[in-house]
């Protein structure tokens, strides 16, 4: 089978949604329950342990807010990339996707610095209930940011050659989902008392 040829199964559309976008929605649906399970566990414990508010007050709100801003901006780049792809401008979409990935990289850098400060204060994964959840939630989210960046750069490489432009929207959808997860993590971990 030629490497780039797609099976007929991939090109059909019984639902009216192209297969690439359809599979992206299912991936997002499954990720909702993964993050949701972890978040639900955290929320239950947090409500049960009001004393965790003391630990939570030590998270660096400025870092969380800055990271929220970075992700929102990178989401903007992602959706502009989608717009460019719709206009069949592959190279422009590729550049916007690369900007989006850069946003993800900046997010990780800020988080790295933030966690360095936290660890220096003595707050590590095993420092207690709140911190265990904090690092696990943010860490799982960070892993998804990394995975998203990798896929995004691969899609950008193809889009630059005006190939597989439909994937620009799909990786964008995934990235917006990662952004929405962070939109909820920010208040839950940083600003809720």
């Amino acid at each position: 089978m030629s490497r780039n040829a797609k099976p007929i199964a991939n090109t059909r559309s019984g639902t009216g949604i192209p297969t690439a976008r359809l599979i992206t929605w299912w991936v997002i649906a499954s990720e909702i329950v993964i993050f949701g399970g972890l978040l639900a566990s955290y929320i239950m414990h947090r409500i049960a342990h009001p004393e965790w508010a003391a630990s939570a007050s030590h998270t660096l709100t400025w870092a969380g807010a800055l990271n929220t801003f970075v992700l929102l901006t990178s989401s903007l780049c992602a959706v502009l990339a989608h717009q460019a792809a719709d206009a069949h401008d592959g190279p422009k979409a590729a550049n916007l996707l690369r900007l989006t990935a850069l946003g993800g990289f900046i997010f990780l850098c800020i988080k790295g610095y933030e966690w360095t400060l936290d660890i220096r204060e003595g707050f590590v994964l095993s420092s207690g209930g709140f911190w265990s959840f904090y690092y696990t939630l943010a860490g799982l989210h960070g892993l998804h940011v990394v995975a998203g960046m990798i896929i995004m750069l691969i899609v950008a490489a193809e889009a630059a050659k005006n190939q597989e432009l439909q994937r620009v929207e799909c990786i964008g959808l995934y990235w917006h989902f990662v952004d929405i997860v962070w939109i909820f993590l920010f208040p839950l971990l940083y600003i809720a008392r």
Partner: protein
């Protein structure tokens, strides 16, 4: 395979600007001493931001109808999970049971937070 331009593209920069303003509102609101304002600033704004991203960036509302239904069903399952688990995990006592280690850690802490 090229894209089928199935969506109308709004002014994305404008949406982004609204999101940033909401972010600022949530940070400022969280500094309040009134608990209700903090909660609304934190979670109310989060819900609005999530809705704006879903609607304008992900184009969920122009997608086939069953897509948002599927996502809502996932949230529904999560709420079933929460409803079934929280009575045991979130509470420290119930009908004929109580959690002693948890009870011992919480009262000193709540005393502390009440005095703040």
């Amino acid at each position: 395979m090229t894209t089928d331009a199935h969506v109308h593209h709004p002014n994305y920069v404008k949406i982004w600007a609204i999101l940033v303003v909401l972010l600022v509102v949530s940070v400022l609101g969280s500094m309040s001493h009134v608990r209700e304002i903090v909660l609304i600033a934190a979670f109310g704004v989060a819900v609005v931001k999530a809705y704006l991203v879903a609607k304008n960036f992900m184009h969920v509302n122009t997608e086939k109808r069953w897509v948002p239904y599927l996502l809502i069903v996932c949230l529904l399952f999560l709420s079933i999970l929460f409803a079934g688990v929280a009575p045991d995990v979130m509470k420290h006592s119930g009908l004929h049971w109580s959690k002693n280690p948890a009870d011992q850690t919480v009262p000193p802490a709540t005393d502390r937070t009440k005095n703040e």
